[in-house]
Amino acid sequence: MRTARLGWGGMAYLCRMVQRARQLSWAAASVGALMMVFTGPAVGQIAAPAAPYPAVVPDQPLQFPQDFGAHPDYRTEWWYITGWLRDEVGVERGFQLTFFRVRTRIGEDNPSRFAPRQLVLAHAAVADPATGRLRHAERAARAYPGLAEAVEGRTAVRVGDWFLAGGEAALAGYRSRIEAEDFGFELAFDPGRAPVLNGSAGFSQKAPDPLNASYYYSRPQLKVSGTLKLDGRTLAVTGHAWLDHEWSSEILPEGARGWDWIGINLHDGGSLMLFQMRDGEGRAMWAAGTLADARGEARRLRPDEVRFEPLRYWQSPRTGARYPVEWRLHLADGRILHLAPLMDDQELDSRASTGAVYWEGAVRLREASSDGQERETGQGYLEMTGYADRLRM
């Protein structure tokens, strides 16, 4: 019989699964598959089956600010912020902050506040070219009022002293603070415009089967200001960021091996989100995107309107995984975009703790203008999963 270390390890596994889920960015987490309530003999006095996860269905308009808050009935949910920071001397760095909420369907009939009905996890990273690799840290806890929670009605997620709060009104800003061993930041985010709905009015299909879907909106072009702490130095920073908020219930499509996702703040004030899901052979199973202009007017890109083409690979000295760190993106209207990383090594290697290995990093978007010269037209984040060896279970 195989045994698996629980606790940090078990929780690590959970984090890993949630990470993987997020790595799909929109795919309903595979975490869900693990949530199946044990169906052994009826033991204890706790045998009442928990209510099922609600399905994600089209034509259910999102309501703000209500939908800025948590949707605890759904299996998984995340608030995912990525962005670029510039300090007073002009050094550019990337950062990422994610809060996950997971409904376990465990202990839902338990009056105890400690019942692990909901778990809250958080992940933060800073990409500093001077360091040459990512700094990252994570937190995990069962939901407990005041300590770890994702509240409804507005964005207010916390794990201990890490938090993301805001979204009290449609145009309200966000604040967040995280404190890790060798880095930390305290940032304010100002949206300035309404959320951009992805997919069909926020219903975002992840696979050919519409069952694999999520509710998904983005807040591109967030104006960022605050402080960044690196090894005890505190830097005043400004920049721009991108917030994704997504909730779903259904598991991933069969046969998915990995995914690639970008969220780019365009210099003209617009935004571009693209993703593709790859099968075992690396072929795209599904792709989609959203292109918005400076006023937030969005155009939905369908699977046949998006194509990812890898340009250059970088091999991780730690894991041996080969990541396509430079891409050429083909859009249906004939535009060709060039994606280049802030630095090659933005692999998130947390095998020592959570075990997750993927690439999540700051990238520049370039586009050839009419004169044939290539210029930077945007900055954002690229996420690539499923390139490392199969995760140990």
């Binding site: 019989m1 195989r2 045994t3 698996a4 270390r5 629980l6 606790g7 940090w8 390890g9 078990g10 929780m11 596994y13 959970l14 699964m17 598959a33 693990l34 949530m35 199946m36 309530v37 044990f38 052994g40 003999p41 033991v43 204890g44 006095q45 706790i46 376990t104 465990i106 202990g107 338990n110 009056p111 105890s112 506040r113 400690f114 019942a115 692990p116 778990l119 995990a140 806890a141 069962r142 407990y144 009022p145 005041g146 300590l147 201990g160 002293d161 279970m393």
Partner: protein, 850 residues
């Protein structure tokens, strides 16, 4: 010198094998007992500490409170403080295992917290193949067991009633009890980092299963970097509700150590007595041996043996006996400790370390220390005879006639010293205890014993004239001899005095204690039947529904209930028991002060406190008592003080209705039932068993509880009975050796008596009478001292060690028969010991004098 030493001195030990063996044994016993007490305690404390460290893990501070737990609302407050890096909440459940007499400690943990604070508690699921294995530690029905718990609970248990209880783990399910209901938990894996008998499950599930929602037992804190435990305590203490305390994890072990200290000191004192009697035994055998070898030594001295060499040689004899005794004692001590672990666990039978399975450790320093004690006892015992022998001028000793005077040290009575020692003893009794140890009481006992020995000649002078003179030649001779030289009685009687004093003192104390406990049990158990779901901190309890069920059983006339909770009155004090029950009714209250009536004019509810509580808190009837109940400090007025032999650390009794009004806690630990007149108690008990399921409740008749309690009492004092027997044997042996020594030096005198017409048996009778008379004096003196020591034991040592008062109950008949038996035995022993002196022909014996 060494060859000489070997041939002259050590060889002499071999010649008197029995005497040497006995002295050696006594020393060995003292060493063994002392060492065993220390070893057992060290091991138990070590084991307890390891358990604590495992559970505390890397915590810097622990929040503790009542054993029954506290409201969890303090948890987020602490967890969010900047001083706190991580707060790990725990619910500790002492789960009752239906039908079994053992229990299992189940820790409800937050998996996400223990990883950083108590990694030793991390569970390992054994079903990783299944998808649900990932969340195994969060599933509410899953429990993870340490290897020891898994082994032990998988086996049937032999109950104290002789029946076999089923395994608690059956087909992969662990059966536990909450209230009066049992349910099964899935054994989902193990605890690779844990030792001892332990189980871990999800905190939320534990709260739900055991009906403790909203309750935590402990919060372990890992402090932020750079924050010291003291600083954190200063900052956090003001946030804590009353009854909760923050302490460093190590404090738990020292608290337990402090609890058992008085008991250990008592046992160590017994060991010291054994060692001293061992030393005395060496003294009396050496005395005899030196007397016998007097001329030999004189010759050696004449041949050139230095005085110092002689002294050294004799001391070496004592040292060798002491060393051999010490070695044997060290071996025996380890054996005793090992046997104790096997039989009673690490608590020395006193219940301080329940459930720990200690391992024996070898401690070199400790062993050397006890060896040294053995040698010291041997050397000390030899010191006087050796000095005496080395001082004698060889020319005098070679003259045969000198033997009669010089063979024995001419001990003189020292009335002034004796009387001042008595005064000192009286003063020592007034001393308050030092850190819970009755130092003054022990000092008084030592003073009294010494005084009794020193005053023996005075006693002889006072008593001997009272005894008739007319009974015959032998009697008159014996009488005359003792009257003339009462000092010799000191030597022979000292051992008797010491052993009789200690034995009679212990007998009086134990008898008083036993009678008082018996009375107390009768008083506190007046009902016909008692029903209990589990011990106070266990997961079994009775609720209102269960009480209604009891009341509806035919034959039940009335039901009274007790709720027992254990609180912290202050940060320093150990747990304090609060009993909530009717003050009158089916439960008796053995009051020694105040009354059971509710004080009419009081604005606060009344409380009746135990003697220990009155002593520890220094309060009396009419004073105010503050108890942290239901998260608030509540005030009570002390309405009475009662005797409590069950809770050494103090207890207070409050009325059930007051308790429920203050806390809202309606749980019940015990129910006392009165049956209707004419109803058969046995049938009512059977009906109750049927109503709840025999495995869920314990139903006891007061007679059974009493018998069990007294059995435990007797077992606790078993070791003291053993010690009594040993000291008496040693006392008798002292009589034998001194008689033999005296007889040896008086061979000439006996020869003369033979010439004057005494038969051999007349001489034998004379020796027996002298022995009896000497012993009789020793016994009288010993009994007097014993009575006084018993008073000290009862009023000073017990009061200060355990805060127990008791009624004096002297076992007159037992003491009298013991005294008479001892005198007769002494006569016999003296007669046997003197036999050698009579063996020589009268002519030879007399001839030797010239």
């Amino acid at each position: 010198m060494s060859a000489l030493l070997g041939r002259l001195f050590l060889a002499s030990l071999l010649r008197r094998r029995l005497a040497t063996a006995l002295s050696l044994l006594a020393i060995a016993l003292g060493v063994a007992l002392g060492l065993a007490v220390q070893l057992i305690h060290a091991a138990a404390l070590d084991e307890f500490g390891r358990g604590m460290r495992l559970i505390a893990g890397e915590a810097d501070l622990q929040l503790i409170g009542p054993r029954e737990g506290f409201d969890e609302s303090i948890y987020p407050v602490l967890a969010l403080r900047p001083e706190v890096a991580e707060a790990s909440p725990l619910l500790v459940v002492e789960a009752r295992l239906p039908g079994r007499e053992d229990s299992l400690e189940i820790l409800g943990v937050d998996l996400f917290r223990i990883a950083r604070v108590q990694p030793g508690l991390l569970p390992l699921a054994s079903r990783a193949g299944d998808e649900d294995g990932r969340f195994a530690a969060l599933q509410p029905h899953n429990v993870f067991l340490s290897a020891e718990a898994r082994t032990r609970l998988g086996e049937p248990q032999l109950r104290s009633d002789g029946q076999s209880a089923p395994p608690a783990i059956r087909e992969g399910m662990l059966w536990v009890q909450s209230g009066v209901r049992s349910f099964a938990l899935q054994v989902a894996g193990e605890l690779p980092g844990a030792t001892g008998r332990l189980a871990v499950m999800d905190l939320g599930a534990a709260q739900q299963h055991f009906d403790r929602v909203g309750v935590l037992s402990r919060i372990d804190l890992k402090l932020a970097e750079g924050v010291s435990p003291d600083a954190a305590r200063m900052a956090l203490a003001p946030l804590l509700p009353p009854g909760l305390a923050l302490r460093v994890p190590e404090a738990a072990a020292s608290e337990v150590g402090a609890l058992s200290r008085a008991y250990r000191v008592n046992l160590t004192m017994l060991a010291a007595i054994a060692l001293i009697t061992g030393g005395f035994l060496v003294f009396s055998t050496q005395l005899l041996s030196v007397a016998r070898r007097r001329r030999e030594f004189a010759l050696l001295r004449a041949l050139g043996l230095e005085r110092r060499e002689l002294l050294r040689g004799l001391l070496a004899e004592g040292a060798v006996v002491g060393l051999a005794g010490g070695v044997l004692g060290v071996v025996l001590g380890h054996g005793l400790a090992m046997a104790a672990f096997q039989m009673v666990g690490g608590d020395l039978g006193a219940g301080f370390f329940r459930g720990t399975r200690p391992q024996l450790h070898f401690d070199g320093m400790l062993i050397v220390g006890y060896l040294f004690l053995g040698v010291a006892a041997g050397v000390a015992g030899t010191w006087l005879p050796a000095r005496e022998a080395s001082r004698v001028a060889p020319a005098r000793a070679l003259k045969a006639g000198e033997a009669a005077h010089a063979g024995l040290p001419q001990a003189r009575g020292r009335p002034a010293v004796g009387l001042s020692l008595l005064a000192l003893a009286a003063m020592a009794c007034l001393m308050p205890p030092v850190e819970g140890i009755p130092v003054g009481g022990y000092a008084a006992v030592a003073c009294l014993l010494t005084a009794a020995v020193l005053l023996l000649p005075q006693l002889a002078r006072a008593l001997l004239p009272l005894l008739g003179r007319g009974q015959g030649v032998s009697w008159r001779l014996a009488h005359a001899r003792l009257s003339a030289t009462p000092a010799q009685a000191v030597v022979a009687g000292a051992g008797v005095i010491a052993s009789v004093a200690l034995a009679s003192a212990m007998a009086i104390m134990v008898s008083s204690f036993r009678v008082s406990v018996d009375d107390w049990l009768t008083q506190v158990l007046p009902a016909d039947l008692y029903v209990r779901a589990s011990s106070s901190s266990g997961s079994g309890y009775l609720d209102d529904a269960a009480l209604a069920r009891i009341a509806s059983v035919p034959g039940v006339a009335s039901v009274d209930t007790t709720r027992l909770v254990n609180l912290r009155v202050s940060d320093e004090e150990p747990l304090f028991s609060v009993l909530a029950r009717p003050v009158r009714g089916n439960w008796g209250l053995p009051l020694i002060a105040g009354s059971t009536a509710r004080p009419a004019a009081s604005d606060v509810p009344p409380a009746w406190i135990s003697e220990a509580a009155a002593d520890r808190l220094r309060i009396g009837v009419g004073d105010r008592l503050r108890l942290p109940l239901g998260g608030q400090m509540r005030e009570f007025v002390v309405a009475g003080i009662w005797r409590d032999y069950a809770r050494q650390h103090g207890a207070a009794l409050i009325a059930s209705e007051d308790y429920v009004a203050l806390t809202g806690d309606r749980r019940i630990n015990d129910a006392a039932i009165e049956v209707t007149p004419g109803a058969a108690v046995g049938q009512v008990a059977a009906a109750l068993r049927a109503a709840f399921g025999a495995e869920h409740v314990t139903i006891a008749l007061p007679g059974e509880i009493r018998a069990i309690s007294l059995e435990i009492f007797d077992r606790t004092f078993l070791i003291t009975y053993l010690m009594e027997a040993v000291t008496i044997m040693i006392g008798l042996f002292g009589v034998a050796t001194t008689s033999a020594a005296l007889a040896t030096t008086r061979e000439g005198e006996f020869g003369m008596l033979r010439h004057l017409g005494f038969t051999r048996s007349d001489v034998g009778r004379l020796i027996a009478m002298e022995g009896a008379l000497t012993t009789g004096l020793g016994v009288v003196s010993g009994l007097l001292a014993g009575g006084a020591i018993a008073w000290i034991l009862i009023e000073i040592i017990n009061r200060q060690s355990f805060h127990w008062s008791m009624e004096l109950a002297v076992p007159w008949a037992a003491l009298a028969s013991f005294a008479i038996g001892l005198v007769l035995l002494a006569a016999l022993v003296a007669r046997l010991a003197g036999a050698r002196a009579m063996r020589r022909s009268a002519v030879l014996a007399v001839k030797a004098d010239w």
